[in-house]
């Protein structure tokens, strides 16, 4: 007897996708193993590290704490979908690289998604707001200093792009 499968439709990085999953399938596993989007990582599978963060209808969620069936019909952005429409790197991606905000890169997709939403809601955050904004994501490599720097840098790059000073 196999498990009962549920048909779900998702829009992932702008592309409509259909798949069949058991009720208990985590969204993280669905994205990684069913849809082949392995950029989303799992570091704990209990909601603490933030490696698995994706944007669900634009808001950061932990895909390891989300059953895939519960997001049927919703829109998801993963790290693979963060590039600009023209294929160039987003300001957040560029800033992370420029600021050496990653080492092993395992936590990075979660940070990139988190920061993308953070700067959309608050384009020029203060130091405290940045630290607060990333305080749900663990990184074992960088000590966070360059991640904080990268968030400010991304804000700057976005400002330049929009002609803000």
């Amino acid at each position: 007897m196999g498990e009962k499968l549920h048909e779900i439709r998702l829009t992932v990085n702008g592309v409509p996708r259909e798949t069949r999953v058991p009720g208990r399938r985590l969204l993280s596993d669905c994205l990684r193993h069913d849809l082949g989007l392995t950029g989303t990582h799992v570091g704990c599978e209990h909601g603490v590290c933030g490696c698995c963060t994706v944007l669900l209808d634009g808001e950061p969620v932990r895909s390891c704490l989300t059953f895939a069936v519960t997001v049927d019909g919703r829109e998801i952005t993963t790290v693979e979908g963060l590039r600009e429409p023209d294929g160039s790197l987003s300001p957040v991606q560029r800033a992370f690289s420029e600021s050496h905000a990653l080492q092993c890169g395992f936590c990075t997709p979660g940070f990139l998604c988190t920061v993308t939403a953070l700067l959309r809601d608050n384009p020029a955050p203060s130091d405290d707001e940045v630290v607060e904004g990333i305080s749900g994501n663990l990184c074992r490599c960088t000590g966070y200093q360059n991640i904080v720097k990268a968030v400010h840098r991304a804000s700057e790059l976005m400002g330049e792009a929009e002609g803000r000073s």
Partner: protein
Amino acid sequence: MTTKLFGEPVQRREDLRLITGEGRYLDDLGKDALAAAFVRSPHAHARIRGIDVSGALEVDGLVAVYTWEDLPEGVRDPLPLLIPHPALTHGRTAYPLARDVVRHVGEPVVMVVARDRYLAEDAAALIEVDYEFLKPVVGIEEAVQGVHLVHEDVPGNVGAHLVQEVPSPGGAGAREAVDAAPHVLAFRLDIERSASTPLEGRGVYARWDADDRSLRVYSSTQTSTSVRMAVAAKLGLPLPSVEVIAPDVGGGFGVKIVHPWPEEVLVPWAAMLLGREVKWAEDRREHFISSAHERAQVQHVRVGFDDEGRVLGLDVTILHDHGAYTPYGIIVPIITATQLLGPYRIGAYRVEFSSIYTNTVQVTPYRGAGRPQGVFCMERTMDRIAAHLGLDRTAVRAANFIQPGEFPYDQGLIFQDGRPLIYDSGDYPKSLSMLKELIGWDAFPQAKERAAAEGRRLGIGLACYVEGTGVGPYEGGHVQVTSDGRVHVSTGLTSQGQGHETVFAQIAATELGVPLDRVSVVTGDTRRFGYAVGTFASRAAVMSGNAIALAARKVRDKALRIAAEALEADPRDLEIEDGVVRVAGDPEASISLATVAVLSNPLRYAFDEEAKRATQFAGPASMDRPPVEAGEEPGLEGRDYYSPVRSTFASGMHAAIVETDPDTAEIRILRYAVVHDCGRLINPMIVEGQIHGGVAQGVGGALYERMVYDGHGQLLNASFMDFLMPYATEIPFVETAHLETPSPLNPLGVKGAGEAGVIPVSAVIAAAVEDAEGITVDRMPISPSELYELRRATAP
């Protein structure tokens, strides 16, 4: 400019794939592989009476279940003891699946293979193991009583006992020297367990090719070459039929140097047996209870000193908790015992350690590898001396420093590489003055007083360390220029985020005179480079960096020889810039490295336009000499190795200002300053990143992280909910300054930088808290509730 790449803050070349989701970590591979899961012991110490797997057989998608009984010879044997040592008289390692007895919670007992991970875990949950409980041994001091034993045949639970002693210049033993000193102090220090805790756990994925009887293994490891040798030996395969690849690895910090893990033997074995791809990716709880921890020690110190605070005799006895098994030998306590001496010349030194079995997860190196404990010991000692004599803490340190003119300085001990502990270079007085300047040491008392007037408690602390880096035996590098002008560099050691692809490319590009974007680097892939040791002990830049430089120099010499012939010039008049060999001062006379690569390989068959130049009728050639001369090889490539006589010693000093809350005992780090000397910097941006990350792990160890075992040997905080790894909110901004005293031991003059950041942090924070509170701090980590208790205990 191609020649200035060494020393520049070049952007990392690994970033693009990692910020776009195109990295390839272990669990990103093998989409259709079967999944393995393990039944692990829920008990710290028990005898296995029986295993009933029948429940699992109901699970749809189950492929196989294995217990120790099912394993063939070789696979079923105990895992290797990687680093034997004469003092490790009672080394013990685990079986890949428990045989008869389990010795810690998390020890693997049954392996399940199924269609996917969910089903494998379903099946594992339905397997019943019948255990007879044995008394668990938890905590070093309970263990040394020897009342209950972790291994029946290891009396007193003592795995190893080692004494090293360096007499004073006058020939006095350390105990004698302590007793004869004008001042004597004796005290005890306690250090808790923590762990590497990379965000990616361990993992193994194996493919058996039944047609050509070869095995490919991917492992999230710090040593693919050594995993390869271990797997080939265990499975009885010829070495050339096994290849091991470390893909992108999500952090290591020491834990992934251990090998072969049970899973690294069992997963490839199952893949061979089943003729199917098999993968296992560790989950977070498994990582906590089944990999490795570090740090726990109890230290007893006796120190004798004069009125200036000069240490005349130091006598340290260490109890080191190594958990249930000793696969990595006694490297950690040896490092503690030797690196404890730091930047100091000590009158007479005696260190004795006992390495003790307990029914807990095994202990193997975690970034710093015994040094944080050694530095904690020495620096707490320096602070006690200063307090006893009423001297400034920096003055006591300065009184004991080895002076810049005294290098090479022989500490008289044997280091972790089996070689003498001889410091190659450094400038400790300069480091200290830079640190005092950076943190504002001399002005701090006024700041402290001002704060006190407002009811705030501030404290300042510092700590110094010396780190033996770049241990041997060797690493190698291979550099090849292909006929398209690209440069392919490979080395056998592995990467876990240190930026090796970037720094090794900088080295090769600088040596060869080519643009950086023409260089590509591969690490940790035995298909490309089969001889290597691994990534640990801050050795990658020193070992592989120098090997790659030497290999590149060979290539450069060969390129100049070939170009000289083609240009009819003297090789000594040639230079390479931007991938073009030219005669200095004659811009017309030049030839690209791509063309030199073509010419380096005499051809019979032309495969493209460029290749025609190397064919047999293409041009004039000496008819008296063979196309490939004796001693030459076709191709523009070179291979070389770097094998140092001994380690090179990096050093540094940290200082911090903390504030403690008078009511809640919360500890906040207000400032954190680092002076760091790792010789010549290859890429300052990357070195700073290593320091930041190391300090963050140090702060975790100083204030938050500990492994909480109860008396039954249950790890009570085996999750990120309960093990308090710091977030951005806990980590201070780190201010850094660099000193560069080149190492005379290697051609690049570099020293290791990977571990440095973590080493002195606990000592620094303890010193600063002590200064703020006026209470002696003799343990790490220190939590607010512990500080609160300390206040109560010492209240008048």
